[in-house]
């Protein structure tokens, strides 16, 4: 049986925040003509093509700037990173290699791909959600936790 954590569940914040992410992807698609996939935007920096660097860096600076803009208006929400350094290094490597081989991450496949009914993105999303569930189970329940 699924044990839902009602006290942690934040449905309105989730839907509104999700819609803002959707607007971000819409701006990127309808003005710049591209898919807002974070791993692709970052990864493209490492196979540089003429005229291709500036907008990628501008997008990443925008993401960095989000917490600064937020802080000017309100208190930043908690960012709790429980993982130790060894776990973070391993996880980072897996995310870096995996998203590039898999041509996308939660944004490119999960949001944009599913929005345009891409079969590849549906398969990718099922794959990374699947191993995400398994690894979290292993990390939280199989070994102590």
């Amino acid at each position: 049986m699924i044990d839902i954590a009602w006290e942690l569940f934040t449905p309105w914040a989730a839907i509104i925040g999700g819609a803002i992410i959707g607007v971000s992807a819409a701006v990127f698609l309808l003005f710049n003509g591209r898919i807002a996939g974070i791993s692709g935007i970052m990864g493209g920096l490492f196979r540089p093509m003429p005229g291709d660097i500036f907008w990628r860096v501008a997008f990443i600076i925008g993401m960095f700037a989000a917490p600064w803009v937020w802080q000017a208006i309100a208190r930043l929400p908690a960012i709790e990173i429980d993982a130790g350094y060894d776990t973070l290094i391993l996880a980072g490597l897996l995310v870096g290699v995996g998203t590039r081989f898999g041509s996308g991450c939660t944004s490119g496949h999960g949001v944009c791909g599913l929005s345009r009914f891409s079969v590849r993105s549906l398969v990718a999303t099922l794959c990374f959600m699947g191993t995400g569930f398994v690894m979290t189970y292993v990390a939280r329940h199989a070994f102590g936790g």
Binding site: A13, G33, G92, T131, G132, F133
Partner: protein, 141 residues
């Protein structure tokens, strides 16, 4: 210059959306991935909200060849489900489930000054460089 402005705006909105939804916090993401434990379904509603808007924008994009800035609309053309897609996504999910970070939230957490996010992002960049190396040298197809 416009393309830079809209890239920045899009990145900024993306980051704000992650902060509003709570997804910039790896702990909250892990509470979603912990489906066999005490499960927080919020991430699913983030996807619902984002996809609801996304459906409209891709519908608009489908009827256009040029963006509002007059740039070509570049949508992915690949349609084969291959080993790279599956293998890569399986690996990505393993990393995601270990730390609760995917690329977007990691960048926002880094922007907010979290040292641990810097470690993750540097390692992610190393992973991306490793992909470039493997892609160029051993896995030509």
């Amino acid at each position: 210059m416009n393309i830079g402005f809209f890239s920045f705006l899009s990145g900024l909105l993306f980051g704000i959306g992650l902060l509003v939804s709570g997804m910039a916090n790896p702990q909250k993401v892990l509470n979603f991935l912990d489906i066999t434990g005490h499960w927080d379904p919020s991430l699913m509603l983030v996807m619902v909200g984002a996809i609801a808007v996304g459906l409209v924008s891709f519908r608009i994009a489908k009827h256009r060849t040029l963006s509002f800035l007059g740039l070509g609309i570049k949508l992915p053309t690949a349609d084969k489900v291959d080993n790279r897609l599956i293998g890569g996504s399986l690996l990505f999910g393993m990393g995601w489930g270990l730390a609760g970070f995917c690329p977007g939230p990691a960048l926002v957490a880094l922007g907010s000054g979290e040292f641990k996010a810097l470690v993750f992002v540097l390692s992610m960049i190393a992973g991306m460089l490793l992909f470039e190396y493997l892609d160029r040298n051993t896995l030509k197809n």
